[in-house]
Symmetry: C2
Subunit: 345 residues, 2 copies
């Protein structure tokens, strides 16, 4: 047995939906931890979380929290990341940021390990975790890009409410219950915290995730389009995205059309995807097998099905891509990055 | 006041989710009825339905039910239509069929009044009502086709469970309740009645509506593609569709990308759609206004929002199209056709 280096790890946003999964994964994956520091807002500080049979008291995250921290995982919102990450970097921590704060910063690598782990060491203290809906799409598209090349992607998403945090989960369940029981509902959280208008999510489909940009797209859609180009390292990609919130708790689904640069054999596409890291093909229509959000919840992989050649365009490929938005879409991708950092240290 | 001709009308499938809406619309629209005959399977025969303050006893639909019937509206499933419509036509009734039985028959016009009412009189006794998800899409696309022309459509749907009938509504509500209460669920109806595998629809997204064809598409997807070409009268249209069932009770939503034949002004697109018959534009992103299934349920029109120019292709147009699948998607389109028949008699 070799002497493995142990790390001082901090989790910022410990009590959030993503933070909770990060802590669980650090434990399950037996991440080489010397000391684990759990940080949160002042409101949650003082609470305790169990980690490997020991209780850890949550501390308030402040600019001074990062002394002696080797790796800090941030998922407490963009403004917290913007405020605290510069201090953490100055203290010598490598920061893995789950928010959109640094994603498009040219000095910050935007990493999906299956796609561009080779860019990991280009960081200057910060590594960004892409948007949940971006991660699962690029993970499935990369092996096809490498084999066939493509320039056109058209995607519509079916996104789970857990992407908006625990309060959105609670609201969805409460609203559903009220509607089933014939009570009035008072939407309070979705579609976007901080915006004035609220819409019912129970038994509905809301074509808005995040605020609108002047061009008629939402920030969520812009994130998917811009981040995909950055991660794939191809600014010429032509991507169109429509992001929709539906009453699913865990697991984003995506209907993806991609126009490959050459004609292709559909059996070869299935083989390529089956052999790709982090991808599981679930695609037996004759047995009604395809990825479902409820089946993929709790799983680390990205699931692909409904793989079929377009009838109108012989270079057109259609797929249905599903993954747990809190795991591969957030916590697992971040912990994966942390594992790569640990491995090379 | 002119002497209006009155019609003997039969409704086949009176007790189904669509039949119920047809009867309601005939009453609300004050359709010129002499005698209304309500027909169903033997199982529901003998029950009574109130129509204009009079109780009508439901009779079993048989080949002999159509004597003296002028207009018969069918929504009792494809096999019932295939069996009974030939008898109804022989008896002299004009049949408006809500099932897929005659839609692709070259002798049967497939009518969406806003699109191709000019083909109404080409019928030989049968007029077909298109698939719910087709109707709302072509109604919104036709005015743009007339102005700009187009050849490429890529659509992903978000379809309500009521499209699978009343038992699917009951199942969705029951499953949702069970999950909220922490009970096990036993899917029984969806995704497709008659197929062996059942999937949970509550808090899920199922990428299967109807059975699969050998090419990897479902019949629902094939219907949307083939019917759109027939209704638009343009076999050269290149259409790709992914049909998905989500836990919404009433109202199909569609994310539609269409590549127009020329560059366009987005304000002009909004004007064209606003002025088109049967279309309502709900599109003020700055006020978070866009069509929502829950808002469109119970309405007769087709609602269009998220109208935006594609960032990758200056001829690309994105839209979010929503309509009540039981009304414009079924009952209302059928009654609209009946009204045109009545008007010209």
């Amino acid at each position: 047995m070799t002497n493995q280096k142990l790390f001082n790890v901090a989790v910022v946003g410990s009590t959030g939906a993503v933070g909770e999964q990060i802590i669980k994964l650090l434990e399950e994956r037996n991440f080489p931890i010397n000391e684990l520091k759990l940080l949160s807002s002042a409101r949650s500080a003082g609470n305790k979380i169990e980690f490997k049979h020991k209780e850890i008291t949550i501390e308030e995250a402040t600019p001074n929290s990062f002394e002696n921290v080797d790796i800090a995982l941030f998922s407490a919102g963009g403004s917290v990341s913007k405020e605290l990450i510069p201090h953490a970097v100055e203290s010598g921590a490598i920061c893995i940021d789950n928010t959109s704060a640094f994603r498009m910063d040219p000095d910050t690598p935007l990493i999906v390990p299956e796609v561009n782990i080779d860019q990991l060491n280009e960081h200057k203290g910060v590594i960004a975790n892409p948007n949940c809906s971006t991660i699962q799409m690029v993970a499935a598209l990369k092996p096809l890009y490498d084999r066939y090349g493509f320039s056109r992607i058209i995607t519509s998403t079916y996104q789970a409410v857990s992407g908006s945090g625990r309060s959105a989960i609670d609201e969805t369940l409460k609203q559903s219950k009220d509607i089933i029981e014939g009570n009035e509902v008072q939407p309070d959280i979705l579609p976007v915290g901080g915006l004035p208008v609220k819409h019912q999510i129970a038994f509905n489909a809301i074509p808005q995730i995040d605020k609108f940009v002047d061009n008629g797209f939402t920030f969520e859609e812009m994130k998917m389009m811009n981040e995909t180009k950055k991660i794939m390292g191809d600014e010429s990609l032509e991507i169109t995205v429509t992001c929709v919130r539906i009453p699913v708790i865990y697991g984003h689904s995506e209907s993806v059309y991609v126009e490959l640069n050459s004609d292709f054999d559909i059996a070869e596409v299935r083989t390529i995807l089956s052999e790709a890291p982090g991808i599981v093909v679930v695609d037996q229509p004759e047995e009604q097998k395809y990825p479902l959000a409820t089946d993929c919840a709790g799983e680390l992989d990205v699931f692909v099905g409904r793989i079929r050649k377009d009838l109108a365009n012989p270079r057109g490929l259609n797929m249905w891509i599903v993954s747990d938005n809190l795991l591969k879409g957030a916590a697992w991708n971040a912990v994966q990055i942390a594992e790569y950092i640990a491995k090379q240290s």
